[in-house]
């Protein structure tokens, strides 16, 4: 008998013994008969199933929009799950009214998810609201009817009608949004009600589980049909695996830290100034709220975006199996396609890399069919330390050019000690080609990926050293 999962569903406290691996979307539609939440793709790409998940942080509850089609029910313990049914107030909420007024709904199938995403944006724990934020919030919602024009205009109306920014943060902000009828009155009692739910006992442990679920954003896409019928280890019940700390030279990142938490962290933003921009390409907000750094690594996709970045940062992983703990370099973690230096009982718990010094620059490149929320054709990251025009050390990774996320050791060795000049880059391209072997697949032909290796190497150097190298240089010599 699985342990009971207890959570608040809209207004009601629910205790259920449903399999913890059950998808929240299936639970809502099939068990609770709450059919306002729609199934569009069941792989986190369309956003028709977006719900809000509220979690106690201190005295208040912070809400995030997530795709319910990739979230295990068991993870809801002690949380507040908000569906479109919660937003059936006496009148339309300002979000709903704006969509109606601007014609932002045509067939209506994507609309509940869009209402939830925009409501989630207003509920952000702090900060003001703007047009860019509206787009950020809509990033994970596909609408096949409107072309988004009317939705962006609806966003404009919301910005005019709703005052969230000046209301401070945390529960004050929620109270303010209750007053403006963005969310129902009972949201004010949710923090106290959540505190009264006792914590759940830990699961069986990784060794006894068929699946170990972190964010689930890829695992459920691959195995969504099986997971609900198996024993699962839901890592997100282990809060200690989340968070970022900088201790002297070292950055320690809990393996369950989400993409969004990583990108929003001020320490990380100092170390990787363009992290926000990189992250926009990797996943939508709704997915970034779920996808974890550890999951990205263990999933071992050859085009894992964060994995490529972490490879260049010379990351060390900590693995634990409940008895012992060991460290392994990320660069030696991948043994073959989806083959890891990890036993079934081991769980990746921590990711550690060094703070780059002042002479070191970090950059990430990615090319995909669609610029935002798409899987890379090829991605690449570089960390490069220079002194007086010379490369002291380079760390270069490429995704999409080998069966594993590839650390390009030979190219790094070649670059060390070289001048930053075109000759160096052109020769490095040859080395990089010699240690990669892209194949033709749905992300692009082998020719294309080989060309991208060249282009992205040029992009790294011309982006990081614009005074020494320009793109034009590489074309005039041909």
């Amino acid at each position: 008998m699985p342990a009971e999962t207890t959570f608040i569903l809209n207004h009601d406290t629910i205790s259920t013994t449903e399999s913890p691996g059950t998808l929240v979307l299936d639970y809502l539609r099939r068990k609770q008969k709450l059919v306002g939440t729609k199934e569009g793709c069941k792989e986190g790409d369309c956003g028709a199933c977006v719900v809000l998940v509220g979690e106690l942080t201190g005295a208040s509850v912070s809400y995030k929009p997530v795709t319910s089609c990739l979230m295990p029910l068991g993870e809801l313990h002690g949380k507040h799950l908000v569906t479109i049914e919660a937003l059936r107030l006496d009148q339309l909420t300002p979000v709903q009214q704006a969509i109606v007024d601007e014609g932002g709904s045509q067939c209506g199938f994507c609309t509940p998810g869009i209402v939830m995403s925009l409501t989630g944006y207003l509920l952000q724990p702090a900060g003001g609201l703007d047009d860019a934020g509206i787009k950020y919030a809509l990033g994970g919602n596909l609408c096949r009817c409107t072309g988004y024009g009317s939705l962006k205009r609806a966003g404009g109306q919301i910005l005019q009608e709703v005052d969230a920014g000046s209301a401070g943060s945390g529960q004050d902000r929620v109270s303010n949004l209750i007053a403006q009828q963005v969310v129902p009155d009972y949201f004010s009692q949710i923090p106290a009600r959540l505190r009264s739910i006792p914590p759940i006992q830990r699961g069986n442990g990784a060794a006894q589980s068929a699946y170990i679920i972190a964010g689930g954003t890829d695992l459920y896409v691959q195995r969504g049909g099986e997971i609900p019928y198996t024993e699962v280890e839901i890592l997100n019940r282990r809060q200690e695996l989340r968070g970022i700390s900088v201790e002297g030279e070292h950055v320690r990142v809990g393996a369950l830290t989400t993409f969004e938490e990583f990108a929003q962290n001020t320490d990380i933003q100092k170390i990787i100034p363009r992290i926000g921009e990189y992250m926009m390409r990797n996943a939508s907000w709704q997915i970034r709220n779920r996808a974890t750094l550890g999951g990205n690594i263990v999933n071992a996709s050859p085009i894992g975006d964060m994995t490529a970045l972490l490879l260049a940062l010379d990351t060390t992983l900590t693995l634990e199996d409940g008895l012992k703990k060991r460290n392994v370099a990320l660069r030696s973690f991948f043994k073959g396609y989806k083959q890891l230096d990890k036993t079934p009982a081991e769980v990746l718990t921590e990711i550690m890399f060094s703070v780059p010094d002042s002479g070191t620059r970090v950059h990430f490149e990615k090319v995909s069919k669609r610029k935002t929320l798409d899987i890379a054709s090829v991605n690449s990251a570089i960390r490069i330390k220079t002194a007086s025009g010379k490369i002291v050390r380079a760390d270069l990774s490429f995704g999409g050019v080998a069966p594993i996320p590839l650390f390009m050791q030979n190219t790094c060795d070649f670059l060390a000690g070289k001048q930053i000049e075109m000759k160096t880059v052109l020769a490095a391209i040859d080395v990089a080609h010699s240690e990669s072997a892209p194949i033709s697949d749905i992300r692009g032909s082998a020719d294309y990926k080989r060309l991208l290796v060249r282009q992205l190497l040029i992009a790294h150097f011309t982006t990081l050293f614009p005074d020494q190298l320009t793109v034009k240089d590489f074309y005039e010599t041909h």
Binding site: R30, K33, V35, G36, K38, C41, K42, D45, I84, L87, R88, L92, V100, D101, G103, G104, S105, Q106, C107, F109, V115, K135, L138, G139, L142, R144, C145, T146, G147, Y148, G149, S150, L151, K152, V221, G225, M280, V367, K369, R370, K371, T372, S377, D430, H433, I442, S445, D447, Y448, R450, L451, L452, R454, Q455, L456, A459, T462, T470, V471, K472
Partner: protein, 760 residues
């Protein structure tokens, strides 16, 4: 007027097929489909699936009581495969179980042994082997063969045009409920209830009236549920018939993408000839349509390709050839534009190639050859009230095309690895079903004694705003408030023999039928009121803002009183209206006629910025002048223009169907098939409607709006191409769509790529 259903949509209250409360004991269906694209079925083993938990039964072709046939135009498509399979995803068996999960788990246990046969995915290869569906067609005007001699410039070329997945957010689905006396009610997500009714009756071997089809709304259709909804509805009907239980079938996204047909890929050859000034004198084009494994609607789609092969241009000597080629892909089908976009893409490519050869701006040739009053289409229809030049000129002026041109040049002079490009895209799209008999519609209107009104039509609400438009039209026809109008679900027992909701004509046809039905009722009401009020001339009576007026004079009667009094005096407050578009005809022997009630015109201007190092691009702006006639509802219409544009842009750029040589669809999920998102679409998106224009053929002067805006999207291909040519003026770029970042990068860096290849 706002979309009638919008409030319900935003509250998650609007119901789709599987949102309705489930009948007790309802079964769930899951489909087993062919894993190979062509082969003979040696054996089908259902035993293990039957033994699975919760499974009630597994059906195959032998369980079909009627005819195993669902082909609408041509009877060449089985509901369930019998001896052969012809595409990956062809339905073979149907599992019925107590739950959705059980049904799908059992499907995985079905085993089929297939002796594989050669697979054809290329339409030219199919054509060469004589595998065509229906006759090849040729439209001609003037004398192409002699016209080449007069041309100063003649260019040839080839286009490879990709298809497009509909990606309606709601996948295919149906729920069947057995009623008494052998009647089945089908809640189907279909654009064509009568097609479902006919096909289900055929499969079950029962009369049409034993099948009732009811449709409240679709979560998107775009043509993908015009013919392609039929199979899934028939399977559900078969299951309900065989078990006597309510049954629901909902396709998972992945399966929907694999099994259903899409916009047709085309391969085309063109030759175009112009005089020195840039006037097009001759155009010869051959279209090889990739129809897939069954006819579906392909011959009709091909026909519209022929109709729109000269887009908005007048060309005196034309020969347009087309053939629907049978391949081993899923049967390709209707998709917004219905073959028109492919025809237009080829002529735009021909003009681009000619412009490059003549070293003239592409838009100069386009503008010079636009249609004018008095011109004739290759299919014989004479033109009047042409708005091609007017929409072009208004776009050029209000969006300042000259400034865009200049700014593009300046930018490109100042930048090396980043280039801008612009393009203008005119459109001309004919409105009517090209199969003349389909241009008919019925509406059933009831007025209740409290003055409220119920309207049923044969049209389907799929987000395009039909229900909102019908409500507005009905309110206007009666002279009463829109609040009094309720538009009912579409149901074959209320309106019979309806045409599909397609061809952009749904509001036109059903709106007219509604006007005619309302007219009968108001006519009776006026006769009655004139008599009661002692007036001799009932034609002086009007209903304005719910008041009955005699000329300008108030009669003291309002709508409510009129209706109540009429009822007590036994006046019929219900009517059925029927509309048949006048004046449309087409002679397929001569390939001439007057197939369209009217045409829709417009012009769009696009600007893009290209990252030449990475091969990626941004659409900076899309600006449109569109001819709507007198709009029925601007809010709905703008949504149609912007939404159609988005699909057109996606088709030309990101949306790439990828099949392997074995006919397996590789881009079969949203992770690998990308459609426009909020970031992809330009923030600078402007839509202007032609002002002070009428359209006597449309309801209250409106023009259809559903499909035409999609074809604006073609312009972005040429804008990107222009930017590529700014980086590599000497490169020989192909006319292959979509223009994915891969095509862009490989096109820009042919030389670098060759260097890399030779080094391997």
């Amino acid at each position: 007027m706002k979309h009638i259903d919008a409030a319900g949509h935003t509250r998650g209250e609007s119901q789709y097929v599987d949102d309705m409360p489930q009948p007790v004991g309802m079964l769930h269906a899951a489909v087993f489909t062919s894993p190979v694209a062509h082969g003979r079925i040696i054996s089908l083993n259902l035993e293990e699936a039957v033994r699975c938990d919760g499974v009630i039964t597994v059906l195959s072709a032998k369980d079909i009581p009627g005819e195993n046939q669902i082909g609408a135009l041509i009877p060449d498509e089985l509901l369930l495969a019998e001896h052969e399979v012809h595409f990956v995803g062809e339905p073979v068996a149907l599992v019925l179980a107590k739950s959705y999960e059980q049904a799908h788990r059992a499907v995985a246990k079905i085993q089929v042994e297939i002796d594989e046969l050669p697979v054809v995915t290329d339409p030219r290869q199919a054509f060469e082997s004589g595998a065509i569906i229906g006759p090849a067609r040729t439209f001609a005007l003037g004398d192409v063969d002699t016209a080449w001699q007069e041309c100063a410039v003649v260019v040839d070329g080839q286009c490879e045009i990709g298809g497009q997945e509909h990606l309606y957010l709601e996948t295919q689905r149906c729920r069947a409920i057995p009623l008494e006396d052998g009647v089945l009610r089908l809640y189907s997500s279909t654009q064509s209830p009568y097609a479902v009714q006919k096909a289900a009756a055929r499969v079950l071997g029962v009369a049409h009236h034993k099948i009732e089809v009811d449709v409240k709304r679709l979560g998107g259709g775009f043509g993908g549920k015009e013919d392609q909804a039929t199979a899934w509805s028939c399977l559900t009907a078969l299951a309900a018939h065989c078990t006597g239980k309510a049954v629901e079938l909902v396709l998972p996204r992945h399966q929907d993408m694999i099994c259903t047909g899409k916009r047709h890929p085309y391969s085309a050859d063109f030759r175009i000839g112009l005089n020195q000034a840039g006037k097009i004198l001759a155009y010869d084009v051959k279209h090889y349509q990739n129809a897939g494994a069954a006819a579906d609607l392909s011959p009709a789609v091909l026909e519209r390709t022929l109709f729109h092969s000269t887009n908005a241009y007048f060309i005196p000597n034309v020969r347009i050839f087309g053939a629907s080629c049978r391949t081993n892909l899923p049967p390709n089908t209707a998709f917004r534009g219905f073959g028109g976009p492919q025809g237009m893409f080829v002529i735009e490519s021909a003009i681009a190639k000619a412009a490059e050869k003549m070293n003239k701006p592409r838009e100069q040739i386009q503008r010079l050859n636009l249609l004018r009053d008095g011109d004739t289409f290759p299919y014989g229809q004479h033109l009047d009230d042409v708005r091609a030049e007017r929409t072009w000129d208004e776009a050029a002026q209000s969006f300042d095309l000259n400034k865009i041109k200049q700014a593009t040049k300046t930018y490109n002079d100042d930048h090396f690895e980043s280039k801008k490009g612009y393009a203008v895209m005119p459109i001309c799209f004919g409105i009517s079903f090209t199969a003349t008999f389909l241009n008919q519609a019925g509406a059933l209107v009831h007025v209740y004694t409290d003055g409220s009104v119920s309207v049923s039509t044969g049209g389907i609400e799929m987000g395009q705003g039909l229900v909102t438009n019908i409500a507005r039209i009905a309110a206007r026809a009666f002279g009463i408030s829109e609040k009094r109008i309720k538009v009912e679900s579409t149901n074959t027992t209320r309106v019979a023999n309806m045409s599909p909701s397609a061809a952009s004509a749904t509001t036109d046809l059903n709106g007219h039928a509604t006007i005619l039905a309302a007219g009968q009722i108001t006519d009776r009401l006026k006769s009655f009121a004139a008599n009661e009020l002692g007036l001799t001339d009932k034609s002086r009576l009007t209903i304005v803002h719910e008041k009955l007026l005699d000329g300008n004079r108030e009669t003291g009667w309002d709508w409510q009183k009129l209706v109540q009094t009429a009822y007590l005096n036994r006046i019929d407050l219900s009517a059925h209206g029927f509309y048949a578009t006048p004046g449309v005809w087409f002679d397929k022997q001569k390939e001439k006629g007057n197939p369209f009630a009217y045409h829709v015109y417009g012009a769009a201007v696009f600007e893009v910025t290209l990252d030449c190092l990475r091969g990626t691009y941004e659409i900076d702006s899309a600006k449109i002048v569109h001819d709507l006639g007198r709009p029925i509802n601007k809010l709905v219409d703008i949504g149609q223009v912007e939404g159609g544009l988005a699909q057109g842009l996606g088709w030309m750029t990101l949306e790439e169907l990828s099949f392997d040589e074995q006919g397996r669809f590789l881009s079969n999920s949203l992770a690998s098939y990308k459609v426009p998102d909020a970031y992809f679409m330009p923030d600078d998106l402007q839509v202007k409607f032609l002002q002070n224009v009428d359209n006597p053929a449309g309801p209250y002067g409106a023009k259809a709006v559903g499909e035409p805006p999609l074809m604006y999207g073609i312009g972005v291909f040429f804008a990107i191409r222009a930017a590529m040519r700014a980086f590599r003026p000497d490169s020989d770029l192909t006319f292959d769509a979509p223009m994915t970042p891969e095509r862009v990068l490989l096109g820009l860096h042919e030389q670098e790529r060759e260097v890399l290849v030779t080094k391997i």
